[in-house]
Structure formats: structure tokens, C-alpha cells
Symmetry: C2
Subunit: 342 residues, 2 copies
Amino acid sequence: MKKALIIEDSDDIRESTAEILDLAGYATFTAKNGKIGVDLAIKHTPDIILCDIMMPELDGYGVLYLLQKNPQTAGIPFIFMTAKAERSDMRKGMEMGADDYLTKPFDDVELFNAIESRLKKRHKPVGFKATAGDKETLFAELKAKGKPRSFGQKQIIYVEHDQPSYLYYVVKGQVKTYKRAKDGRELSSTLYHAGDFFGYQSLCNGTSYTDNAATLADVELLLIAKADFMDYLQSHQEISGAFMSMLSNNAQHKDEQLLRLAYFSVRKRVAETLVEVAHKFGDKQSDECTLRISRDDLAALVGTASETVSRMLADFKDEKLIEKNGNAIHIVSIEKLRNIKQ
Amino acid sequence: MKKALIIEDSDDIRESTAEILDLAGYATFTAKNGKIGVDLAIKHTPDIILCDIMMPELDGYGVLYLLQKNPQTAGIPFIFMTAKAERSDMRKGMEMGADDYLTKPFDDVELFNAIESRLKKRHKPVGFKATAGDKETLFAELKAKGKPRSFGQKQIIYVEHDQPSYLYYVVKGQVKTYKRAKDGRELSSTLYHAGDFFGYQSLCNGTSYTDNAATLADVELLLIAKADFMDYLQSHQEISGAFMSMLSNNAQHKDEQLLRLAYFSVRKRVAETLVEVAHKFGDKQSDECTLRISRDDLAALVGTASETVSRMLADFKDEKLIEKNGNAIHIVSIEKLRNIKQ
DNA sequence: TTAAAAAAGTGATATTAATCATTTTTTTTG
DNA sequence: CAAAAAAAATGATTAATATCACTTTTTTAA
């Protein structure tokens, strides 16, 4: 049930307006002056506020000003209902940030429609998940704010404890994020490739980085300033939804990695990692794929020693699952690799 | 630089309005009818749209309708500027969802103020991180929407592949989320206790659950309907910020777990898990803590066999780091346990 | 093109922790 | 309170994989 707050000094108008809204199915609160109105608004955080302008104690402009200052109430749709029908009055009300301006006398239908349209506007039926197609246009604007930058192989993009100042977008190449144990062993949690954003994890909770990021191959990035990103998050519902979705996906992926790391054999883990890397590096249609990745990087992704990776690759080669030319790994069948048991 | 789109059939008015905005520092796009206007709006996603009502091809109402249907443009502030000054015309425009209604003729200042106030309204300076104190009031409303429910020990709350329909809030007790490997071994990724929300991961990306949730002890939860949660996410910037922050923290925690699982000895992992569980179960000030947790649950959190946990606990007991009375584990010094090497 | 350096691979060995079997302890229930 | 059931602990054994030392291959740079 939607909550409506009516702030109006005239007992008649206040009561009759409240009655209309009660009948229309709203939970109605009323205040007979601005001061009480502000208190009620903060206490109940209604879904909509209707407010007169000329009132004792605190007038409608004052109410609007105070409510807009308070983050808790700033977003609540605010409609002036007033006898002040002059153009200049109306402009002042709208310029202060009201959402609608209803001049008295108004009829039930006008009132009701005004409320409904503001409620509808607020709760836009914006899809939360963007499809792949939408995503492109959705992010186009954000990406337009980024400045391009090129990195060579094995260059560090950020390290633990750095203060984050950019959101990164991968235009070309691959980037890994990793953590380092005290004894120097590395574990890569995620591999990013063209079309991925990264670095938003720390931006989203306002902490310094808890991991490191480095390039695998030659990489082209877009660096989007933290302020621009935060701006977009706050003003574009779709963008913040999309990033929430990414964060959730990451968390889900990490849960799977945890399960693997805990209970799967190294053989299975190497196989799954190869499949994942192939998916990031290669063409998605084909069942074959050639990877150029160092055994150290692979070991960091699997969470094992590089010698062990070498051994597993040798096994896979014997089993004709992969071929090796030079240091490149050619996967003969991604599907077979995926279906390796234990 | 903010982008403004002017949709107006009169060449004079269109050009002069554009000129005013250009001088005021906007990047201005113009369209001489509604059809072109809609195309430009979708192409450029301007920050504000000014639109006449009476136009050939497609009138202003049609433009507004089409733009509101499109999620990409639905949120852009939309101002009618029109000669239709009748009360009924104005009501119709506002009821359709316009953000302001400017009747011609208007002067530069009116136009400029109208635009500025709508832009300002959209980019509310809402703080992204809520402090601990704020959080309580921030979530109070959301929690008020939840219905309470009690669970006994070891009861299942949801399982993999279920369609999520609630956001959960822990009022009392502990809840674990876990994944199960094909051979039945469990790995718990997170332990939730009083004051925690859970279940938002799957809600946020719209997928079915990829993990299971079950109670450890007797638990009281608040079940907040998915629709209510989604509604809040979309309308309350602070809430969506808070949940993004939670998602990021979870991801960071999982990164740490991954590193541990990959390279730390079971001894170290059991010790760290005990410290974490103590933190969730016990009083935060004290360096001592008594835990009632089954060896199986502990093993699932560590990612090891329950026999191994028993052995480690026996070792810790010998080293006087813990005591055991019955099956309860009494940690003598959390600090010492935390500082165990390898 | 070749020498030097780096990366990858291999063999032997040690170690950790899983597994299975069994005993002991604790908890539950009639 | 006692018997039954469940949970926890322990011993013996085994399997997996990390480590170290060394060789081979590949890459880099003179």
C-alpha cells in the first residue's frame, strides 16, 4: 500500500484531499503545517508528498528545500497544490525542484492522475538485466568518457593497497587480476578480455585495491575516471543494475572456483582452467583453440605449481586432448577437455 | 558537457533556443519534428530533452510516449515547451510523465532555470557509502516490508536451481550458504549472522540460485519479497549503493578464501576459519569465544575432510590454543590462533 | 646466427592430507 | 537412566601433488 503525505493548513482541503486518497487506496498521513510535514516525511518516508505553499510555521518552499537536503527524502515525488496560480509562482515551484504543480481548485481526477503519473515515473519498469545488444548502447556513453591507454606485456596496471581512481574497460588483449601469498605464490581469480570492465569491485565499496592487475599480452584499455563512473551509477539506474549483475556473476564464479579448489583434482582443475581460458581468448564457435599463455600464469589460475601444470599438459598431450607447438597450447577439443572426469 | 535535445518545428524558436543553450555551454542537438527527435534521442541519449507539442509527423505527446517506452531514454528529463497554455493541456502533458511544462513565450532565464533544476534533480548528490549509523535507518524501511519466519536447526532455506523469491535478513542465529560437489562434499562459502542480508546475489543478476542455504542453529529470518527489494533498489539510490558495497565485499572475501584454499596448509586454514567463525558467533571485544559448530560444518567451511578437522583441533588443544568441553570448542586466544604460521 | 637467458619439462623424493576402518565420546530418545 | 544413534576422534594406509634438482627447449638479444 502506497503512503501519501498531505501538508496543508486549511482543515477543509486537507481532510477532503485525504479522504479522496484514502478511498483510492493510499495510506494517508496529514500535517497542518510545514514543520509537522517535514517531521512526518522523515518518519514515514511516504511514496508521494502533496504540499501547499502558503502555510504558517514553514511554507511549502521551505518544506521542499528541507526534504531535498535530506538524502532519505530527496527522492520522494513532491507535488505542490496551491492557490498561487501566477506564472511566476508556478515557475518558482518547479525551479525549486517540485515534480508537479497543481493549482487550486482541482478535481479528484486531476489530483489522482497527478499522483499516479509521478508514482509511475518513479518506479520505472526498467529492465534490470540488459541483453547483450542493449548493453552495447547502455555502456557506449560510459565508455565515451574513458581515455585510451596502451600497455605492453606483463605490465602492472594496479597493485594492492593502491587507491582506485579508474574504472577499466578492456578494448584489446587480456588482463589478469591476482593476489599474492606471503611466500610469493600467485593466485589469479579472474581473467578479463575485450569487452570486460574491471576494477569496479574496489570502486563499489570505496576501499583500496585488495588485488593486483597486470596485462598478459599487449593490451588497450579505456580508463574511466572514478568520478564519472560514480556519477553514472547514481544517475543511471540501468548502469548500476548492470554492475550489480556483474558483481553477482563474479561472486557466483568465485563460488565455483572455491568448490573446485577445495575438492577437485589438479587434473580436473587444469582442464577446466584451459576451457575457461579458451573461452576468453578464442573464437566462441569453434571447438578448437590455440592459447599462448605461460605455465606460470596458468599455474596461478589453477592454484598449483607450474611443474604440476607442465605434467598435466604432458598427460593431456599423450591423450591427444591438446597439441603443443612451441610454447603455444593447441586444444584439439574443448568439449572433450570439459568432460574430463575427476 | 551536458547534451540537450530540442524538438521543435518552428525554425525560429528552434534556432533561438539552441543558441541560448549553446551559449550556456550545452552541446545542442535539434530536430524539426517528433520522428527525427526520437531518433536523435536514442542515438545521443541527451541529458535533457525540450519538446514542442504541436508538430508534424509525430507530436510531442507521441515523442514522450515513445521515449518512455524505451528503457534507454525513459529516464531523461523531458520538458514540454508549448503555446498550449490551457490548464487541461498542461495537465495532460504532466500526466503523461513530463518533468516540466513551459508555456510560450518564455524568456532565457525561465528556460535555463527549468533545465538546470531538472538536471540537478536527476543528479542528486546522494552519498554512496552509508555509515554504520545511517545503515540502520536506511534498511529499517526495507526490513519493515519483511515477514518474520523461524527455522529450526539444520533446516534448508533454499537449494540450487530454486527460483529466488525473497531477500533474507538474519534476525537471530546463523545461516550458511554452500555448494555441493558431485560426490556430495560440501563447501560453505559464507556464514551469515544477525544483521546480515543474504540471497541478494541471485536476485541481483536474475538467475536461479547457484548455491544452497541452510540454518546452523535456531534461526529467525525476515523474508522480504523480491518485488519489494527490486522496487527499493530502483528507487533508493542509497540502498542499491549499499548492496553493491555488500556484493563487492563478498567478492573480496571470496578472493581471500581462494588464495587460502590454493596455497595455505590445512592447519592454517582451520585456524583462520575458527577465527572467522568466532567473529560471527561471538562477542567482538573478547579474545575468547566458545563455538558450538559441528565438525562437518567446520570441514565444509575449511574445504577439507571432517577427520582432518578433528586432527587439527586435537593439535590445537595440545598446544593450548583451544579447549574442548563436550563438542563445544572454546578458543583460549583468538589472537594466537590468528597468528599461526603456515 | 649464436650465445645467453628464460621458460618449460622431467625424475626422484618428501610431505600433506584424504580415505577407510575402528574406537571413543556425545547426544538423543524411549 | 539406559540403550541406540549420531558425532567425533584416532590409527593405519594410500594417493596426490609439492618441492628440489636437473635437463631440455624456447625465446631473447647481442
